[in-house]
Symmetry: C2
Amino acid sequence: MAVTYPYLLLDKGKCLENIKKMVNKAKKNNLKLRPHFKTHQSIEVGTWYKQLGVDTCTVASFPMAKYFASGGWNDITVAFPVSIFDVEIINSIGQQINLNITTSSYKNLNSITNADIHRKLGIYIELDCGHGRSGLSPDNNREIALMVNLIEQNKYFHLKGFITHAGHTYGAESIEEVEVMHRKALKLLSQIKLFWNESYPEISISYGDTPSCSISEDFYGVDEIRPGNFVFYDVTQASIGSCTHKSIAIALICPVVDVYSERGEATIRGGAVHLSKDFILLPNGSKSYGLICPFNGKKWEQPIEGLWLKSISQEHGVIASKDADIISKLKPGQLVAILPVHSCLTVDTMGELFLSDGTSISTMRKRGNNN
Amino acid sequence: MAVTYPYLLLDKGKCLENIKKMVNKAKKNNLKLRPHFKTHQSIEVGTWYKQLGVDTCTVASFPMAKYFASGGWNDITVAFPVSIFDVEIINSIGQQINLNITTSSYKNLNSITNADIHRKLGIYIELDCGHGRSGLSPDNNREIALMVNLIEQNKYFHLKGFITHAGHTYGAESIEEVEVMHRKALKLLSQIKLFWNESYPEISISYGDTPSCSISEDFYGVDEIRPGNFVFYDVTQASIGSCTHKSIAIALICPVVDVYSERGEATIRGGAVHLSKDFILLPNGSKSYGLICPFNGKKWEQPIEGLWLKSISQEHGVIASKDADIISKLKPGQLVAILPVHSCLTVDTMGELFLSDGTSISTMRKRGNNN
């Protein structure tokens, strides 16, 4: 079949490098690495972790847990608060899989305690370390104690520990800001571990977003980390300081369809159905939906200075520059590589990753037809 | 198989009502209706148009043209500027299909004139009537004449007319504002028609975004309209004034996973991988990624006043209210229906539409696994 555009290209070398670095960092800090697989959603990419000794993973849903269980993963944490609608699929995942679930409050846990669950489940209590989205305040000892009590009363439940996602680090604008958030989170987590360790010596603290895990060298009190995005990284992570543009392992390959030199713009085939709609704000106040790199048909080079993807609609992207000369070098029919602002969403939207040898890797949410 | 959440529910009655209204408006104004199928991307929804006598359609890509050709559509316009990478698939679409393509400039057209195209193609020249994204300025007679010349010289090319998308109406904040943009576009289009009509009496003016086509009753000089979004409508269209909330025909059914009464928020399973990331700004300055409706398992009711979807991440949504009482009525394990901000992207992201009888309709970009 003919290649249709846009397609998502994965630089396997960069991806393996990203995985290796995180595996080594976890080892060095004596942390279990339980990478979040929602970024790549692919059994094949999962095997690249396995080859480096990683045998536990994190997922965003029970269908995703089932998918990776079918791919040989037998120790999986679902890092999204459970709901009554998950019970049927929970029961359908074989007992031989260590399945850990997340619960974000007493109300949330209570909503499933009388459900007909008949398999063992490790339970993580979710704490909110500053993100403000989901989970309990770490100083809410009363509610945590009530939850521990509910867990104790259920023969299928086993308290695994506390889980948190310091997702507010995604809003940081420098590595220093990430470090401040990270240290605050570590302090809160150490306190709660100290409090519960006496009754539950096996209790585990599960932590770790990509910015903290990429930037920091201190994980005091933490037992496992769950970064996901680092496997591919993206423009957001580069702007925070988690990585350089060179570490970004995926790019959307798009045809330039027209060039409007007079207004310093060019249109590409490549829009929200390919990249999704996350953007970053540039120092000049413009939105950027991606960075534009030269592409030779096999590999992309570093982003072209002074060019950015200023807007996207469903299928169109508009590249902008303040320098008419840069835009004028683009030609209709040329291919460019777009470094995505948010790789997790771009992978989810596309559903398939192409390698430089022309083969492709399907994700769990592969499309019937990709264009 | 168990239903997994979230899923996208289609109210077929509302959808048929939306289609009928537009069919009647086109008839009344003596316009050909060539609806854009990028919103529903589904052969089955296409048949609902056929049953009302619509036999021409618009698509966003050549793979989409091929998909609808396989579903019995034999007069299709691809309303996206052509590129050299489309040639192979253009040639693979059978000669019995009337296939019209779009070209946005002389440079764009020139990029394919020497390609090995060997099927007849209707050619639309794209004009920019104020949107500022793609196409020529309507007063650029010199470049248009050069393009007409190139078309004349190619034995497979046949000049169909001028095409424009007044997409700037999506930024309008009232029906009056849409009318102003619409009248300006009509004036430009009438002038260009007058200019070219003498040499090309069959020339067609193809126009029409959902706001203009929903709101206006005057289409002087226009031959065909191509609205797409109106088939389902969405919160953006309701905020412009193209429709009421009652006409919105799709909703994402999501479980409430937790309730944080103290901060007036609740979390749902439902995020960017389901809704995509378009938002509108509310009068109170907050972003809204959707409106929240009560749901009884079959049908949704009108949006709950004072509630909105204030943020979404990959899988989470956060519902907010300024009124703690409204939030406190939500319970973990309850289902809510979310009216999407941009139905085209939500349908594309989900890839499958469920009807109230539990059956489902696949889109062209159906997922291997939807959750």
